[in-house]
Amino acid sequence: MKIKFILGVIIIALISGCKCSNEGNDNDSLEVPDSIANKGVYKVSDEAMDKITENISSPIETAALIKSLNVPFSKEHLATTDYVDDYSTSFKQSIILGIYGADLGYLNMYNKTSVSIDYLKSIKKIANKLKIGQFFDFSTLKRLASSSENIDSLIYISQRNFKQMDEYLRENNRSNLSALTIAGAWLEGLYLTSEVYQSNPDPQLREAIGEQKIMLSNLMILLENYKNSPNFKELIQDFKKIHDIFKEVNITVEQGETEQIIDENGQLSFKQNDKSIVKITDEQLYKIIEETNKVRNNLISL
């Protein structure tokens, strides 16, 4: 009798131990409704898709470029969070998640922590709707945002959270939603650069817009993978209009030898002497800005 009782206690302890280790991931086993499950027809392997996804740069780099040019911050460039509760489809929610993610990067880079709390709240709401909210550590991020001294941690944790959400989507047969989030983030990055360029026509911003041709080519492959889905069809058409203008942009490369440097502190560094040169005409540039504006504003509208 005694031994049965002891074994019972051990089994209960083991079960509760397993529960503890899964804390915070309670939604992991949630069933994905058919409406949001992956309906894309796969032509490209998952491995290839992962590589394509990695070849679309982080929106934080765009924000860093803008800040490095000493361009003042403008809240006007950001997508409104007023409609966050009204985005009802997983399609729209995924795109908006990417757009807000890029805006959060811009806010964090400029240390606008009071405004960023509003975006953190909105991202959490959208992530919960998409059943990936367990990866967005809102309480820690909110605490970090409350103190402007923790900006590096805020960027680090928010970027990591986005990565975890993306990985979860891709690992759980919802890579179509991951593709939409990536598309949203990319588009918002281009939109921010375009908006800033119009008030500060810096050659580096001009080049940054032109070189998006490379990222967009990768993004198009990613989106085309889901072309049989009706919502994607429309999105692909919109992105194709931007892509068609980018096709005219010319990017060439001058070859050079990479230099290796070890400084007095023993820090190793490399300086590349290959150089990419972007040739973009005013006409191409303004067509890109106009089309980007149109597509982005259409996507954030209800």
Binding site: E54, N55, D274
Partner: protein, 149 residues
């Protein structure tokens, strides 16, 4: 008496398993440690690589990762190997087939914990990661942004 021994064995096994679990360095922990190595540079992405030991006489096993780098940007690559494995990670950064950077100096045999790369060409790059002498290893690579030039 037999039952008491059985009980002690079970409790010992559970305790031992718990200790093992808490001391093993997970990929996630390694990312957090490596972020400290990255220092002031702004975190962009991380990559976790786990490889088994290479059979004798064969080329070391490698992991390949794709990434995109942008012109006029200084990036920092921090490479952190798990203390739970003997392998130390070697990172080689390629543009097409051209070796651009590595944390391993062939001439001296030294493995650096990080390096900076001044990128002048926007485009796709590839990272090849292997472990020294083909040993088993777990490593995290953190790519971070230093500044625009």
């Amino acid at each position: 008496m037999k039952n008491t021994y059985f009980f002690i064995i079970i409790i010992s096994l559970i305790t031992f398993a718990g200790i093992n679990q808490s001391s093993a360095q997970s990929g996630e922990e390694l990312v957090n440690i490596c972020q400290r190595v990255a220092g002031d540079a702004t975190y962009l992405k991380d990559y976790t690589v786990k490889l088994g030991s290479t059979p004798p006489g064969q080329e070391p096993l490698q992991d390949k990762q794709s990434l995109v780098l942008r012109k006029n940007t200084i990036y920092k690559f921090s490479i952190c190997s798990s203390k739970d494995y003997s392998g130390r990670a070697i990172l080689k950064l390629f543009s097409s087939s051209k070796l651009e950077a590595s944390n391993y100096m062939v001439a001296t045999g030294k493995i650096y914990p990080s390096f900076e790369f001044t990128c002048q060409k926007t485009g796709a790059y590839h990272m090849f990661i292997e472990f020294e002498d083909g040993k088993e290893g777990l490593a995290v690579i953190i790519m971070s942004f230093v500044k625009k030039i």
